[in-house]
């Protein structure tokens, strides 16, 4: 694998930081990749803009921040405006279906996916807090950037024991989401 960049953008409270961290950690510790995780956030605890970056390579990663993400995950309209123009031509675009309004998918996008992760968290799992883990499951499925086994291991190791089962179900919900069904 040559250098691959992933950007996950949203607002504070959606868990985009943890989503990037579990991905990078799985790639680094369990898939033998060189992976760097970085984060951007405003001063607010919730509601401000928030983004995480993952850069993966077989060799040592020099510049650790995504420049032209191969995989772009957008979970808010603000993130869409900021980050969509940076996307690499032919890359994979993934959006939170209910939170990002996209009049038209740019022609440069190679592959497009969407998932109502927040609604699934509320309606299927009755807990909005796992929106990010639903998204992680979905990212793993549609991009194939990390194996299901390794990303799940990373998620379950990173969350507190008392919510492990909830996160397990959230991950499966995202992983098994059928885009064509709606």
């Amino acid at each position: 694998m040559s250098r691959t960049e992933i950007k996950i953008g949203g607002f504070g409270g959606q868990g985009v930081i943890l989503a990037g961290l579990v991905l990078a950690r799985a790639l680094s510790l369990y898939e033998g990749k060189q992976a760097v995780f970085t984060q951007e956030y405003g001063a607010e605890a919730r509601g401000g803009s928030s983004a995480s970056g993952v850069v993966i390579d077989d060799e040592r990663v020099d510049y650790p921040y995504p420049l032209n993400p191969d995989i772009m995950v957008l979970m808010s309209q603000g993130a869409m405006k900021t980050y969509l123009p940076l996307m690499k031509d032919g890359g994979i675009l993934i959006i939170e279906k209910d939170l990002v309004r996209l009049d038209k998918i740019p022609e440069s996008v190679g592959e497009f996916h969407s998932i109502p992760a927040t609604k699934l968290a509320e309606e299927v799992l009755h807990n909005k807090i796992v929106t990010n883990i639903i998204m992680v499951g979905f990212i793993a499925k549609v991009t194939g950037v990390v194996s299901k086994e390794n990303i799940k291991r990373s998620v379950l190791e990173m969350v507190p024991a008392k919510v492990r089962e909830l996160n397990d179900r959230a991950f499966e919900t995202g992983y098994n989401y059928d885009e064509g069904a709606e």
Binding site: S28, T38, P64
Partner: protein
């Protein structure tokens, strides 16, 4: 077999890795006042030190934090504090006390944008000079600048070893980007970690400032029957104030020379592609990672560029840079300030360098440094 007997890979931030390195080399006392972007060092130490029989104290401010670690060191424990810009400024007076009293300690400064409270959550590299000249009086400083969490771990170990070897405070000069980014850190088995401890006197009582041939005095711990007097005033080898030009010359000469004469043992530089290079890019900390990419991009364009990375920023590698300048190479300096290492590089090379600075807030994009390399290529000098 305990978990300490086998190597372990962890996915850590630079801040957490620095804390783990300190614990691995035997740091058992931490006093600090949390400040972004260094707070994760304190957070990790607060959780980990009690697990290994150490002590963590959250102090009321940075003045007391550094005072406490000087005391911790005299009590015989490897001691550390961690802070960022504003706190580092507050620590400057007692940093000098640590140098004057020859107290081995480690001060972590995770640099953010300044001056003053500046950019709490964002990058700066404005304390390159402060690490060297920030406290009053004449002195030699030792400061290390990691570019990755692995180096935060490794350099924390080395910072303690240098502090103990030279009986002096050592600065781990990190920056926000390196402190907050996460990468794999290989933590070696405990038996593979080289831990240097201060020389102890063979006789009791032993004068606490009587140096050996290497100019470093053995350090008697408090409470072992030695007659210890520790003062920031110019003092004799018993630690008694003796404020005379003669004693000043004797003491300061030794404090400066115990580092100056042994700087080859301290300095650590990464030279990547320097031998055939026309352009030498000097950088440290996070900026070195942007510079490494820029050098690769330059090579792809057929420009012979190389990276000269300061893993130790102080003592400064003046002689080596002068040697490279005499070979006709040109220089680019990249750092997140308005030109601090630049002063040292131009003084060493005796020629103008192309400067690629930033005021702070974000690291260099690789193309910004590449532009500097191209500018240097076409410059006259």
């Amino acid at each position: 077999m305990s978990s300490k007997d086998i190597a372990a890979d962890e996915f850590l931030s630079g801040d957490a890795a620095a804390a783990e390195g300190a614990i691995a080399v035997g740091c058992r006392f931490f006093a600090g006042y949390p400040i972004t972007p260094s707070s994760e060092v304190a957070e990790r130490m607060a959780r980990r030190l009690p697990e290994v029989g150490g002590i963590f104290i959250q102090m009321e401010d940075e003045l007391s934090s550094i005072a406490a670690i000087l005391g911790g060191s005299w009590a015989g424990k490897k001691s550390m504090t961690a802070t960022s810009g504003p706190g580092f400024s507050l620590m400057m007076e007692n940093y000098g006390l640590g140098i004057m009293t020859e107290t081995p300690t480690v001060i972590v400064n995770v640099q953010r944008g300044g001056p003053s409270t500046g950019l709490p959550t964002l990058l700066g590299q404005g304390e390159f000079m402060q690490a060297r000249f920030g406290t009053h009086g004449s002195l030699e400083a030792i400061a290390l600048s990691p570019e990755s969490p692995q180096e935060c771990f490794d350099f924390a170990i080395r910072a303690f070893n240098l502090a103990e070897r030279f009986r002096t405070p050592v600065i781990l000069l990190m920056d926000e980007s390196v402190g907050h980014l996460f990468e794999k850190v290989r933590i070696p088995p405990q038996r593979n970690i080289e831990a240097v401890s201060r020389k102890l006197p063979e006789e009791v009582p032993y004068p606490p400032f009587r140096a050996d041939e290497d100019l470093v005095p053995p350090m008697p711990p408090l409470g072992d029957g030695h007659h210890i007097h520790v003062t920031g005033l110019t003092h004799d080898d018993e630690g008694r104030p003796e404020m005379t030009p003669k004693m000043q010359e004797e003491l300061m000469g030794r404090l400066v020379n115990k580092i100056r004469l042994y700087k080859d043992e301290i300095m650590d530089i990464e030279e990547d592609g320097i031998d055939d290079a026309d352009i030498v890019v000097v950088a440290y900390g996070i900026t070195a990672r942007s510079a490494r990419r820029a050098v690769t991009l330059a090579r792809e364009k057929g420009i012979k560029a190389g990276l000269f990375r300061l893993k130790t920023v102080w003592p400064f590698p003046t002689e080596r840079l002068r040697e490279l300048a005499e070979q006709g190479k040109k220089f680019v300096v990249a750092e997140v300030n308005t030109g601090q290492a630049l002063i040292m590089v131009e003084q060493a090379t005796r020629k103008d360098a192309v400067f690629v600075g930033k005021y702070g807030g974000e690291p260099h994009k690789p193309f910004e440094i590449l532009n500097g390399i191209e500018e240097a290529l076409h410059a006259d000098n």
